[in-house]
Amino acid sequence: MKKRQLLIIVISLLCTQRSFAGVSDSLNVTDIIERSLQREEYYNTYAKLPSMLRFWDKGDFALISSGYSSSKGDYTHPQLLFSRNLLEIKTESVKTLSKKGLRFFGSVAYTNGNASTGEWNLSYYLPSNGSPFYYMVEQEGTWKTQSYDFNVAIQKSLSNRLSAGVAFKYLGDLNFRTFDTRNESYTLDMQILPSITMSFGEKSFATMGLFFNRVKNESAIRNKYQHGTEPERYHLFLNQGLGTWDNSPSQMRTIDARYGAVASFRYLKGSKIMDFIYSIYIADEDWLLKSVSTLQERKENIARYSYFCQDFAVRYRENRESGSWISNLDIKNILGTGAVYKETVGLFQDNYELFKIKANLYLAYLRERSLLRRVSANINFDNTGQNDFNYGHTIDYNNLEGTLSADLSLGSIERLNFIIGGYGSYKMNISGKHNPMAASGNFYNTQIAMPAFAYHTSNFYRVGLVLGTEFNLRESQRVEVNLKGDFIKPVSISNYESSASFTLEDNYMNISVNLVFNF
């Protein structure tokens, strides 16, 4: 494990070093907005298709950034973050060795912070894959967090028509709950993604890739103090559905193994670039007992969440003399089934299902050397359905959020430049249906599902402000300072107002500041 970690660090640093040694790659693009688009483009397209790096028109970049972000408020998911402060240091670069037909990407990031979370959360996060399984205690939590994120991608041109690439990810996520009930939660997320791209003439490119992603979590849960007359608040549960839970579970580790494939097709027409990217994977998240008594013949694997995930993305970019159009469509779908091992019958019994579809449509127009630098619109759609067979407990909701934003560019791109941006969005609940059936008296329903449903089906508006400046420190170094803030306020609560963990008087605020050196 340590050798592998070391290798990734070395490769990442080498990529960065190569960038330092070269000319100022990042300055090929014009300003803050163009540079942020460049990085978005990498993550939206090329991080998924390393062999396509060869055909990236954006060129190389290198940066070192440090930032601080803070968020706070009561208008949040009742189990999640009521406050968080995070410090991040990051370096990222893309470097091309044209003569050798090689292109590298490398990034290293470290975050350190603290957070406070709501009731019924002993895992820091709620599962992002839709799994119903997570540890919970009623007592709210405070946390110390750290993460180490290494990413490397290497692309090699094999012939005029053929390009190969491979990307590695290594993410260590460490979350320590600082008061009872304590959890030292270690997550290791590793991925390998090889791909190959073939060009068909000058205008068509097809890519195929495979990936294996393994996410391992190990929790160490314990209490340090006596809990007086309120021990129930510290009682440990393993959630297994929408009312199905394990009382006093054993200590476990989880392994989420994902096997997938990705395919893409790029089509060029004049100054237009269009990418279609489809990825699919199947995964099993297994909950394994840390220790198994051979006397009792207990099975090591006591719960499993099996899921199927598909992602479809369309990227469109059209460059004109006056400006450029960018359109992104992203659709993600998860179908999952949770099952718990029943010792009495000796098999896994399904007890939970999830269907989730998220769609995002982004449209932007950028004008070169103009006061109105960028205008964009974004629509987010979220459809979530959950079902617990044991209780007949179902939760369904559909949400839509529309965002409009604009950025003004003041000053000189060559010397001191200022960006002032603003955005406003409105999130509305289209529909929501909650039927607890046999779980109506279950604490999961009254203390978790109802407050969460009140949050998910509430409507809110969000306004944000972005201030940025950039200037040359030296000829080959451009410095950016970015300040961002947004403010979210609920405007109506459609369901369970009396159970909600927030009121219409509450809000949520995010603020961040970033200092970026571009080389």
Binding site: Q226, T229, N247, F312, V314, I357, A359, N387, G392
Partner: protein
Amino acid sequence: MRKFNFTFALIALGSLLAFSACEKQAPELSIIQVTLKASAAFNGVTLSNIPVEITNTVDNTKKVVLTNPAGVAKFEDIAPSTYNISSSLELSPEIAFNYTGFNKAVTINATLSSITVLPLQTSVQTLTLDGKAGGDLVIKEVYSLGAANDGYAIMFKDQFFEIYNNSDEVQYLDKLYVAFLGPTKAGQNANDVVLGLPLTSVVYASKILQFPGTGTQYPIQPGMGAVVAINAINYKELKPLAVTVDNTKAKFDTYAITWLQSLGRTGSTFFDVDNPDVPTMNCIFLNIQNNGFFNMDDYASIALVRLSANPTETIQDPTVTTSQIFYTKIPVTAIIDGVDILAKSSSAAFKRLPANIDSGFSYAQANGSANYTGKSLRRKISKTLPTGRVVVMDTNNSTVDLEVVTPPTPYSYDKK
């Protein structure tokens, strides 16, 4: 651009349709149908409109349904799980007279424990109501879980139980026995093993104490209690911020060291402290060879017993193979009162008393793990008479009769 936007919108719409939702799996809910009957002794009591309660022992939710004129209660759309089912009916003195020949109120009740209900199953159950008139001496409170917020300085050294005179006549404690019932395991942990011995004619004591006296030395007045403390010490004074008790007002305490030494065994000087100002209970049986003392189990089932001589017949614990653990058999007919206190709502299999002594069982926390919480299980008040005497509930069903209190409340019902 216009053409592109149209194409893009078509792709978006098509993609959404391709990812469209699938149908949900139907719920796998079940039905419990309970038919209420009366035992032969109470044949003829009206069985309609009587509440029947089910408790899901996994999620601890309860549901109550009234019986129809045929005495049937139907619970529909319930989660497949394991259930305890109970019902009780209080007969007024006038009605009870027709069945018992005594002009005294009687509660008849019935409980079924750990009924497994499978998905989509209709589980048909029968509850047979039965009962007997409540006793004169009852166990009013059991504090066995240990102190809270004491920094583990007191632990469970402050345990006590209280005997209460629930009648209108003076009762005597002299020579009565108190049996702490085994086994120690009460269903807290997944690997706890059920004792598996029959609970029909005898129960199994791991420890037995006897009140001192010759017959009339230790009277207990109507509406008054007698606390038996493991150690008659003021723990409140020792740890003012802890959730604990002052046991110096106990009428009796326990002390095993001298007795154990007389048998060639050793006691525990750390846990067992004698208060010479408080009469000490007689030591009769302790199934721990050395370092033992008369503490109750965390989840303690105890019985008040009247016997003419010390019980002597023992039986070995069949579930323990690594050592020899013995219990002394106590005849069920000798039990004056008993309460079954287990770890949690799903612990019914660990019952230590038969249904005719305690048709249910009680627990401090539905999910268990209640040790070192300062919680105590106390009998509820049935009524307070104009004279000020409290009559406590005694339906022979501790599920109904007991409540959880914090901090413990020795002598709380004593007539002022």
